[in-house]
């Protein structure tokens, strides 16, 4: 049970703040690892709001979703890190501004 003295809006504000941090980091950072971490931050921001709502409405679905997100995030991290390594091997850089061959 979430203690009743912490209102739902606090959780949502924190969740939104975390998500915004993730977005900003995603946009302004050049290092691919940092961008990757920003994505994780966004996911966790969303997770937080899921859990908060789940507790508030006493609905388990939200918590189940969080597990799903975590599993997918873990899988994504695996694949993502593998790609990063592959990119580093060929490009010898992790600066995304120099990895711009996606349009080809």
């Amino acid at each position: 049970m979430v203690p009743s003295y912490v209102p739902l809006s606090y959780y949502l504000l924190l969740s939104g703040f975390l998500f915004a941090c993730g977005v900003v980091g995603f946009l302004i950072k050049r290092d691919i690892i940092t961008i990757f971490m920003s994505i994780e931050l966004m996911l966790n921001g969303v997770n937080l709001s899921f859990v908060a709502f789940a507790a508030h409405w006493h609905a388990l679905a939200g918590q189940v979703f969080v597990f799903f997100v975590m599993v997918v995030a873990a899988a994504e991290a695996t694949v993502g890190l593998a790609i990063i390594i592959a990119v580093y091997r060929t490009r010898e850089t992790l600066n995304v501004d120099q990895v711009n061959l996606l349009k080809l």
Binding site: L27, V96, D97, V99, N100, L101, K103, L104
Partner: protein, 646 residues
């Protein structure tokens, strides 16, 4: 109940021949191709003869249903065949003359590299022509009508590598299209007002109607539109211009399609529709006037032509004019009679002309012939008989039918008769002119031949001097000559007319047939024919220098006649040029290029420009993609908030 005669076999047999030769003939030998073509055409002829033998046992009209075709509401048009006295006559003429011309073609076309193609087309023509004459409703007739037009196009343009032949084919097709337009509208009117195209039903619903004497009504409109169709197919004023050009085709084709059978389809159609015409006096009068004028007009052009086939072409137009004159004065059976005799002697004339052309190595200019009588005596004999027949010298075929027409025309108005007799005189004159220029005097073509001018035409195969054609060509000539000699006797004592009377009516056939007037008129037309002969003899045999003098003294008028009254030029200025110019300037350059093409091109260019701009979004830079994603999500969220989505 009538026995089933399997009438459908008659048209389908030649179709089978056309298919076999068309698909398999290329690799087959000439003998095989000829065998197939002759077998299937001959089989159709034999069947026609068999039908003729069985004819008296049938209850007429004999109709045979083959298959459903179009049925909606109460309207129906089926594949069905119709046999009565009229279609029997046409059937025998088409298959008989057609078969003879098939035989002749074997000899005439032997050296042609596209031998199989020729016979395939020829059989195809037979199929469509037989469909036309055996149809039991206007729609099936229209299939045949269009089909013979197609076959005519294919055969006129048979030597399509020759520019003039290709354009002559197109001309024939396009001019015919104008006529078909009228025919089609007539059919639409029939469907709209009588709900059927079956001959039986249409005529049954029209018969009770009175004649539209007081003015022009529905039947007059239908009659006139049918006449437009007939004028196109049968080369009448003002749509006759295609027929002289059609002489670009091989000569057997000119004989079969453009003299004996296809061009008479219009006469057949008008006669078949006589129930309509008899109730539309003004339409009938138009038919008579067009026929009379065409007969006279084309005959005058024929005087000054020097190409042997062109003379015959104008002569054909003129004789078709006679047939329409006959229809126009209500003497439909006389028209059909002339159609039949004309098929004999004009087919013979064309085949003879083909034999002449063959003999002199492809030359068609009569000024380069002459004296051929001693080289090709059999051809000369045949041509002489045909000339006598067409000139109307008794007792040959042409005399009987032409005299019948003139007599019936006289009963309606002496004007028709007078023009008819004058035309008969001119006909006799130009035909004997042809005969004298070709067969008498001295041969004028030796020098050209000796100097090895091999570019004359198709069958120039090393000619030394003119030589007689092979038997395969001469036998059809002889048979047609016999028919031209004796074919007219079926009209003796109005037998032919009585035979056709159940179909065409004509009980009014002046039973005062032995009156002094008729004998007198007969005498006048014989006189006209003989004087035409004498004049031709004077000008082209006795005093050959005279024609040039006369031509010189006539000056401008003569030139006008030589140039066929500049009708082609007139049509070119009036119709062809505006059409070409309008199509080029307005339809092509303005509408097509500036509007349709421009719309398509601009749409393409516009898409290109937009893409050029949008392309820059795809920078390949990951962070710019991230920015777009964020911006896009922001827009979506803003939209949802704005729309008040909870």
């Amino acid at each position: 109940m009538n026995p089933n005669l399997n009438l459908w076999l008659i048209p389908v047999l030649p179709l089978a021949g056309a298919a076999i030769n068309g698909f398999l003939g290329k690799k087959a030998s000439r003998e095989a191709v000829s065998a197939v073509a002759l077998f299937f055409c001959g089989a159709a002829f034999v069947m026609a003869l068999w039908v003729a033998v069985r004819f008296s046992t049938l209850s007429l009209p004999h109709q045979e249903f083959v298959a459903h075709w179009i049925r909606f509401g109460s309207f129906r048009a089926d594949f069905a065949f119709y046999l009565d006295q009229l279609s029997l006559v046409m059937l025998l003429v088409v298959t008989g003359v057609g078969f003879l011309i098939h035989i002749y073609s074997v000899g005439y076309m032997w050296d042609d590299p596209s031998y199989y193609r020729f016979f395939s087309y020829l059989n195809l023509f037979m199929f469509f022509m037989l469909t036309l004459v055996l149809a039991n409703n206007y729609l099936v007739m229209f299939i045949g009508w269009e089909g013979v037009g197609l076959a005519s196009y294919l055969l006129i343009g048979f030597w399509f590598t020759k520019d003039s032949a290709a354009s002559a084919g197109k001309k024939a097709f396009i001019v015919n299209r104008i006529g078909d337009f009228g025919f089609l509208i007539a059919l639409f009117l029939l469907i709209k007002h009588f709900g059927s195209l079956d001959f039986d039903q249409v005529f049954r619903s029209i018969s009770p109607l009175g004649a539209e004497t007081a003015g022009a009504g529905l039947l007059t409109a239908i009659g006139l539109l049918l006449m437009v169709g007939a004028a196109g197919k049968s080369a009448q004023i003002p749509l006759y211009v295609w027929l002289p050009d059609a002489m670009e085709g091989p000569t057997p084709v000119s004989a079969l399609i453009h003299a004996a059978t296809m061009v008479t389809a219009g006469v057949y159609m008008v006669s078949r529709s006589h129930v309509i015409f008899e109730r539309a006096p003004s339409a009938l009068m138009v038919v008579a006037i067009i026929g009379t004028l065409t007969a006279f007009f084309a005959a005058t052009i024929g005087i000054a032509q020097t190409d042997i086939k062109k003379v015959l072409a104008y002569s054909t137009i003129s004789q078709l004019g006679y047939m329409f004159m006959a229809c126009g004065v209500g003497a439909f059976s006389a028209g059909i009679f002339h159609l039949m005799t004309h098929a004999f002697f004009k087919g013979l004339l064309f085949l003879g002309a083909g034999s002449v052309i063959h003999a002199v190595g492809g030359e068609q200019d009569m000024r380069k012939m002459g004296g051929l009588r001693s080289y090709i005596p059999w051809t000369f004999l045949a041509m002489f008989i045909a000339t006598l027949a067409i000139a109307g010298i008794p007792p040959l075929a042409g005399f009987w039918s032409k005299d019948e027409i003139l007599w019936r025309a006289y009963q309606v108005s002496w004007v028709y008769w007078l023009i008819g007799v004058v035309t008969a005189f001119i006909t006799s004159f130009y035909m004997f002119r042809l005969l004298y220029m070709t067969f008498f005097g001295d041969y004028r073509g030796v020098q050209e031949q000796a100097s090895g001018q091999a570019s004359h035409g198709h069958d120039a195969h090393g000619h030394g001097e003119p030589h007689e054609s092979p038997m395969v060509m001469l036998v059809p000539l002889m048979i047609l000559a016999l028919l031209s000699l004796f074919g007219g006797f079926v009209g003796w004592g109005h037998h032919f007319e009585h035979f056709l009377a159940p179909v065409l009516g004509g009980e009014s056939a002046g039973e005062a047939g032995t009156s002094i007037t008729e004998w007198l008129l007969m005498g006048v037309s014989i006189l006209a024919a003989v004087s035409g002969w004498i004049l031709a003899h004077l000008l082209y045999s006795a005093r050959p220098e005279l024609p040039q003098k006369i031509a010189d003294s006539l000056g401008g008028f003569y030139q006008t006649v030589v140039h066929k009254y500049y009708i082609d030029e007139l049509y070119a200025v009036l119709f062809v040029k505006p059409l070409v110019e309008g199509s080029t300037r307005i339809l092509w350059q303005d509408v097509d290029r500036k509007m349709i093409d421009a719309a398509v091109n601009d749409a393409g260019d516009g898409a290109g420009h937009v893409s050029d701009e949008v392309r820059h979004m795809q920078s390949g830079n990951i962070r710019s993609y991230a920015g777009w994603i964020t911006a896009g999500s922001a827009v979506v969220i803003a939209f949802m908030i704005w729309m008040g989505v909870r």
